[in-house]
Symmetry: C2
Subunit: 383 residues, 2 copies
C-alpha cells in the first residue's frame, strides 16, 4: 500500500495566490496523502498567504488534526527556502515558479546526504502549430481564440501559448493581421506584482531588439506604469531567424507571444524537435491537415505532457485525466503531474507488509476490508 | 495514459548475473513499457552478459522489434557508465550495486542540463528485531532461520539480514549460542567474483577490529582462498557500542551479521530511529510481544520499504504486492520498487490527449476500447 512520504515543503507560486499557493494543489496533494506540510510563502502576496494560512490552521484545529501538520514560513527564498529543502526532516518538495528558482531547489535537494524528490513546475512556452487547412477554414477564429489564450489573466498562466508556428502563405499573412488587430483591442491590465511586471518588460525588450524580429501587434491603449499594468504584445519572425536566437525559446511570463513562419510541414517538425520540454503543445488542423501531421504529433508527444487538438492550452481542469507536467524544463520530473488526482502520487511511497497478523495490518489491507476499498488481492483486482 | 519515458540505461548488478543483470528486472521493466534499453555489462560476468545479450538480440530480431531496441556495452563503469548516464538521449537509469556507484550515477544524472530519474538500489542491512517472548518460545528456530537467511547465496542477497537486535536476557544469551553453533556448520562457499570476495574480507576485518565487538561464531571449516571462498561470520556487541561505531551500520556484502543487545524495547525503538533507510525490516514476536511493539513497527515503517513479521527477508517474490525499494540509501527514490509489477512505473510518464479525433488517439484511449483495457472514463473506473 501507499503511505505518506514524510514532511513536504511547498513553495507557493506567485501567479496563483489561491489555487497554487498556501492552500493550493501542492498543499492539498500533500495533506490528502497524510503528510505534514511546511509552506514557504511567496513574497509577492504575503498578506494573502497569511490569511489563507490562518484559515488552514483553524481548520486543522477544528478537525482535530495534529497541530504540527501545517505551517507557513515567510522569508527570503534563497535563505529560508534552501534551509527548508536541506532540512533532514524534509522528504519531498513541491514548487511552482521560475526556472532558475526551481533548478536551484532541485540541485540542493539532489546534493543532500539523503536526496529527496523535487517536483518543480517551472517553464513552458506551450507552442501552437497551425496547419494550412485550418488557417484557410478558420484563421480568424483561431486568431481570436489565441488572443484570449495569450492575454487571459494578463498572460500569467503557466499554460499561456508563447510560440505560434505556421507555414508561410497568404493565409498566414491574413491570420497575422487578424491576430494583430485582435491583440490591439486587449486593454492593458495590472499584473500580479511589480516583480512580475518588470520581468515581463525586460523580457519583452530583449525579444523586441533581436534582429529579424518585428512587432506584429500590441495593445493600442498605453499601460499605466503606476498600476504595474502590461500591454499584450505579439512579435513575428521566421523559422531560420528563430533558430538563430535561442532566447526566443525562453519563457517571457506575461501576455506575449511570437508568431514564427516556416516553409513546410517538415520544417515545423524540425522546429518541434528543437524545442525543450513543455507542459502543453497544441495543433490546429482540419482532418486532412492532421493526416499529414502524424509525425509532428509523435514529436510533440516527446516534448510535452499534454497535447491539444483544435483548442487552446490555457485552461487546466482538476480531474483524473489531467496531466500538468512534462519533460524538463517544464518540470523536474516528467513522471508526475501537479494538477489532477494523480498529483497525489508525488507524495506517497509504497510499503509492503509481509505476514502481518490481521490486527497489526493497516485497515486498508485487512482481509475484511473495513474501509470498503477497491483493492488488488492475490494479483487480481477486486470488482 | 502512460507512455515510455525514453531510452533507459541499465547497469547490470554483479550479484544476480541472470535475475538482475542484462535481461533482469530493470531491462524487463523498461522493455515491457516500450523503452529502448542500453545495458552496461557488469565486469564481474562479461561472458554471461554477452551470452544473455545475444539471446535477447535474437529475440528482438525474431519478434520483429526495431533493431535499436536493445544494446549491450562493455567497459569501465566510471568512464562508459558515466557517458551513458550523461548522454542527452538517455531518459532514465536503473542500477543495482554499491552505494558509492549508485550515488555517483545519481549525482551525474541530477547535474545534467536536463536531469533524469535514476532508480539505484544500493545498500541495506535489513535489520531483524527479536522480541523477548519470541526468544523464549522459539529462539532456537529463529537462530536456525537466521543462519539460512545470512548464508543463503553466500550472503550475496541485497535482502540479507546484517543486523540482529535483541533485549539482553538469559534467553538472548541462549539464542546467541544457538546462532553461533548454527553458523559454525555453514560450509565456506565460493563468492560471485574475486572483487566481492576481497571487499567482504576487508569489511569483515574492519568490523572485527572495532573495540567492544566480539566474535560470536564463524564457519568452522577454513575457506579456500584460491576458490574465492568465504566463511559465514557473526559478531556481537551491545547497543551503546554499536552507536559508537557508525561503520557497523554500513553494509558488509557477504554472509555476515552483527547481533546487538539492547536494554529495553524503547532502546530498540531508538536503535531503529538511528538507522538509515532499508529495503526490509523484520520483527519476531509473539502476539503479546507485538502489542508492546506498536511504536517500533511505526518507526520501522519510516525506515524500510518492506516489513516482515516472524519471517526472514531474504526471499523476494515478483508479484504486484512486492516492494523492493526503500528510503535512501536503500534506493535513490523511495517512491518506486525495482521488483514486482510496480517496477514498470519507473520508466513511464503520463501524457494527456485533449480533444483528439478518435482516429488520432492511441488505441488505449479510443472510445470503442479495441484493446479491451480496464480504464477510467469521465472519472469513473470501468468494471
Amino acid at each position: 500500500m501507499l503511505i505518506p512520504i514524510g514532511p513536504v515543503v511547498v513553495f507557493g507560486s506567485s501567479n496563483f495566490p489561491l489555487a497554487f499557493s498556501v492552500a493550493g494543489g501542492d498543499t492539498a496533494s500533500a495533506l490528502a496523502t497524510g503528510n505534514p506540510v511546511v509552506v514557504k510563502a511567496h513574497s509577492g502576496h504575503p498578506g494573502t498567504s497569511e490569511l489563507v494560512a490562518t484559515a488552514v490552521s483553524r481548520a486543522v484545529k477544528s478537525s482535530q488534526m495534529p497541530p504540527g501538520v501545517f505551517s507557513l514560513v515567510h522569508g527570503a527564498g534563497k535563505v529560508i527556502g534552501m534551509q527548508l529543502v536541506r532540512h533532514r526532516f524534509t522528504k519531498a518538495v513541491g514548487f511552482t515558479g521560475s526556472r532558475a528558482g526551481g533548478r536551484a531547489l532541485f540541485d540542493a535537494a539532489a546534493a543532500r546526504p539523503e536526496p529527496i524528490p523535487v517536483f518543480a513546475e517551472m517553464s513552458s512556452l506551450n507552442p501552437v502549430f497551425i496547419l494550412p487547412g485550418a488557417l484557410r477554414e478558420r484563421g480568424d477564429r483561431i486568431a481570436e481564440g489565441l488572443r484570449g489564450s495569450i492575454s487571459m489573466g494578463v498572460g500569467q498562466f503557466c499554460t499561456k501559448p508563447g510560440l505560434v508556428f505556421g507555414i508561410q502563405s497568404p493565409e498566414l499573412n491574413q491570420f497575422r493581421q487578424s491576430l494583430a488587430r485582435a491583440v490591439e483591442t486587449v486593454a492593458p491590465a495590472t499584473m500580479l506584482h511589480a516583480g512580475i511586471c518588470s520581468s515581463y518588460h525586460e523580457g519583452l525588450a530583449r525579444a523586441s531588439e533581436l534582429s529579424g524580429v518585428d512587432m506584429l501587434g500590441r495593445s493600442s491603449a498605453a499601460a499605466d506604469g503606476g498600476k504595474t499594468q502590461a500591454q499584450s504584445v505579439v512579435l513575428q519572425t521566421d523559422l531560420a531567424n528563430f533558430r538563430k536566437h535561442p532566447e526566443l525559446a525562453e519563457e517571457v511570463f506575461g501576455p506575449f507571444a511570437v508568431v514564427i513562419s516556416a516553409g513546410t510541414i517538415s520544417e515545423l517538425e524540425k522546429a518541434a524537435e528543437g524545442l525543450e520540454g513543455q507542459l502543453t503543445a497544441t495543433v490546429h488542423g482540419t482532418a486532412e491537415d492532421l493526416k499529414q501531421a502524424a509525425s509532428l504529433l509523435r514529436m510533440l508527444e516527446r516534448k510535452a505532457g499534454r497535447l491539444i487538438i483544435n483548442g487552446f492550452p490555457t485552461g487546466v481542469e482538476v480531474c483524473p485525466s489531467m496531466n500538468h507536467g512534462g519533460p524538463y524544463p517544464a518540470t523536474t520530473d516528467v513522471r508526475f503531474t501537479s494538477v489532477g488526482t494523480a498529483a497525489l502520487y508525488r507524495f506517497v511511497r509504497p510499503v509492503c507488509y509481509q505476514d502481518f497478523p490481521q490486527d497489526l495490518l493497516p485497515e486498508a489491507l485487512q482481509d475484511k476490508n473495513p474501509l470498503g476499498l477497491r483493492r488488488m488481492v492475490n494479483g487480481k483486482s477486486e470488482a
